[in-house]
């Protein structure tokens, strides 16, 4: 099982001939991910690390009807088009690594994908990894050991840090999902938590949040209303960040009373989610949550 990706995942890489596309195609192949085709308009007929390249997703899918997921490395300006192309070609899982896609364009593209039954992970995500079985992303795989803890995160490198700490404490990961750092993403914390709920290989979930936006609060509301099927332990970055300043490139900014650290932690704790004040507390909280 696991969620989203496993050994049945057959990957198409959009933007495969770019620097990032080439590098991570190689990394994914090394990890054992089945990358079946790449797309790069005008580069059809070539190949990248042995993966055949096509001019369009439609052609790639026609030649590789087993392809069921896509990962997009296309520059921000062209990335929305790549999402539409993947959706229209019938792909049902689309990981958008690209950062800097205009929020309003992402909103439309992500909504479009959902209207056609496709799941978008990202934009601005490191991707998804089911350790030992499939890596559909750019994360350094070494940090992720197989196990029974689900990770869902808004962050990139912080996710690696968390996975590393879990591994050091003896916890492996069933699947780690970076929902993406942008204000609008295809998946919410709740969407991913619900998938973990249905996954017999996941015992508990670690949620990695940040200040800014209302994603953590929304998760807390839904978890309080419907959730609690599996324990959730959280960490929220940005406790000491000054309000009104954009921390980083994406959504990490608290406006007035919205998106503050205190508001998020309060909402999560009131919903029954233990929140680690320090990263180092995560393994212990997780152990306690699993023991209950």
């Amino acid at each position: 099982m696991a969620i989203l990706v496993d050994e049945r995942t057959r990957v198409l890489v959009q933007g495969i001939t770019g620097r990032q596309g080439q590098l991570h195609t190689e990394q994914m192949l090394k990890y054992g991910t089945r990358v079946v085709a790449g797309v790069s308009p005008g580069k059809g007929g070539s190949s990248v690390h042995g993966v055949p390249v096509y001019d369009s997703v439609e052609e790639a899918v026609r030649e590789h009807p087993d392809a069921n997921a896509s990962i997009i490395f296309v520059p921000a300006r062209y990335a929305p088009d790549a999402i539409y192309e993947a959706v229209d070609a019938g792909l049902r899982l689309i990981v958008v690594v690209t950062e800097g896609i205009p929020v309003h364009e992402a909103l439309l593209a992500v909504r479009y994908a959902s209207s056609r039954g496709a799941v978008v992970v990202g934009p601005n995500t490191p991707g998804v990894i089911t350790p030992g079985r499939c890596k559909l992303g750019i994360m350094p795989a070494d940090y992720f050991k197989p196990g029974r803890i689900g990770i869902v995160s808004r962050s990139g490198t912080l996710t690696y840090e968390v996975a590393m700490r879990l591994a050091q404490a003896g916890f492996g990961v069933s699947t780690a999902v970076g929902i993406g750092g942008d204000p609008v993403t295809g998946l919410s914390f709740w969407d991913v938590y619900e998938m973990f709920l249905g996954d017999p290989e996941t015992d508990a979930v670690v949620l990695v949040g940040e200040i800014g936006g209302v994603k953590e609060e929304e998760f807390a509301r839904l978890y309080a209303e419907r959730g609690r099927g599996k324990p959730v332990v959280a960490y929220v970055a940005g406790r000491c960040a000054p309000p009104g300043r954009r921390m980083g490139h994406a959504g990490a900014v608290a406006f007035g009373a919205t998106g503050t650290y205190e508001g998020k932690v309060r909402a999560l704790e009131e919903a029954g989610v233990r929140v680690a004040r320090r990263l180092s507390e995560l393994p212990e909280l997780l152990r306690e949550a699993l023991a209950r």
Partner: protein
């Protein structure tokens, strides 16, 4: 990018939303203040223009009955430092007779993707006040847009006629898309004897949108950046100057914030947040370290990089070079580097007299010690 109130005001006026008469006075216009203000009918409200929330509580919104008062109050505000920002503009507005204060806002949200329309019969500064008036939340799917039935619902909630509210909501929705706004807030929206008037407003725009309609606002914003932030933008870094003396440099907003939190937690005083963003390559890490070292206030630097696929030995060489080129005596640099070729990287750092740490906690303890 948080817009100035006067910028939001112009956007609203452009989409046909009524606002109060006002005049903008910049620092450079301070000597013409009285003349400028006299174009607005009194009595007055004088508002410091700031790219943040909370100016009301800080006494930066003041009433004035006479031009003398306006002059005194406005001069007191201009040039003031507050929340790390200088007051570069004040807005002198006519004081509108308010019969009732309302709250209206629209914001882009992620799940499900759309725009939230929030309306409350109680305007005012505090969320709690809004909640008291009953906060109506309407979810606008981008594929339907603002529909008339939503206008009717909001109007009923606010005790207004739908016809009266429709142009405002339509204008707000249009502005949200035309100007790539993430948030647009009319707070308060005043019910007056001449109709609805948006007498205060906030807006946040997506600065990555590439929207040409934002270019003037963006260049004003960029013109206000300090040297540090300008240089950071050139590299694609995100830099936020803080009060203390420890620079926290990392790759990824979440990880860098976590390091910042850890430093503060250990009793350190962060003086700079510097996120490299994606791609912790040797030259970027080098540039970031040099930038941090160039800040006079900074006495200590914590570099926390989870390289992943990048070779740590290359990054380490970049760091050593940065120190050689821009190192300052008495500035302590602590590095935590993890990823491919980590051992070799540590060796290089040690040879250069840098302290390589294995964990974030170790590095934090070292930098605050």
């Amino acid at each position: 990018m948080i817009l100035y109130e006067f910028e939001a005001k112009r956007i609203l006026e452009g989409v046909g939303i009524p606002t109060e008469a006002s005049v903008l006075v910049s620092e450079g216009d301070a000597d013409r203040l009285r003349e400028l203000a006299s174009r607005v009918p009194g009595p007055y409200v004088v508002k410091a223009q700031l790219r943040q929330w909370g100016r009301g509580k800080a006494g930066l919104v003041r009433f004035a009955d006479t031009l003398d008062e306006v002059e005194r109050v406005a001069r007191g505000m201009l040039g003031l430092e507050w929340g790390g920002e200088r007051v570069r503009y004040v807005l002198v507005s006519e004081r509108v007779r308010v019969l009732r204060e309302l709250y209206l806002s629209m914001m882009v949200v992620g799940s499900p993707p759309g725009v939230l329309l929030l309306a409350s019969g109680a305007g005012g500064v505090e969320v709690e006040e809004r909640a008291r008036g009953g906060l109506l939340v309407i979810r606008i799917d981008p594929f339907e847009g603002l529909r008339d039935y939503m206008v009717r619902r909001a109007a009923k909630h606010l005790g207004l006629q739908a016809d009266q509210l429709a142009p405002l909501l339509k204008g707000m929705y249009r502005a949200l898309w035309e100007y790539s706004l993430l948030l647009l807030e009319l707070n308060p929206l005043a019910v007056t004897d001449r109709g609805l008037v948006a007498i205060d407003r906030k807006a946040v725009a997506d600065e990555d949108s590439g929207n040409p309609k934002l270019s003037e606002l963006l260049s004003r914003y960029e013109g206000e950046l300090g040297d540090l932030q300008r240089e950071a933008r050139r590299w694609g870094f995100a830099a936020v100057p803080l009060e203390g003396e420890i620079a926290v440099v990392g790759n990824g907003a979440g990880l860098t914030m976590a390091a910042l939190d850890a430093v503060a937690d250990a009793g350190g005083r962060p003086g700079l947040f510097l996120d490299l963003g994606g791609g912790a390559s040797a030259d970027r890490v080098k540039a970031a370290l040099k930038l941090a070292l160039s800040q006079p206030r900074i006495r200590r630097v914590l570099v926390n990089v989870l390289g992943g696929i990048t070779r740590c030995d290359e990054v380490a060489r970049g760091l050593v070079e940065a120190l050689r080129e821009a190192g300052r005596p008495g500035v302590k640099v602590v590095v935590r580097l993890s990823g491919f070729m980590e051992e070799e990287g540590r060796r290089i750092l040690e040879e250069a007299g840098l302290k390589p740490c294995g964990t974030l906690e170790e590095a934090v303890a070292e930098v605050v010690s």
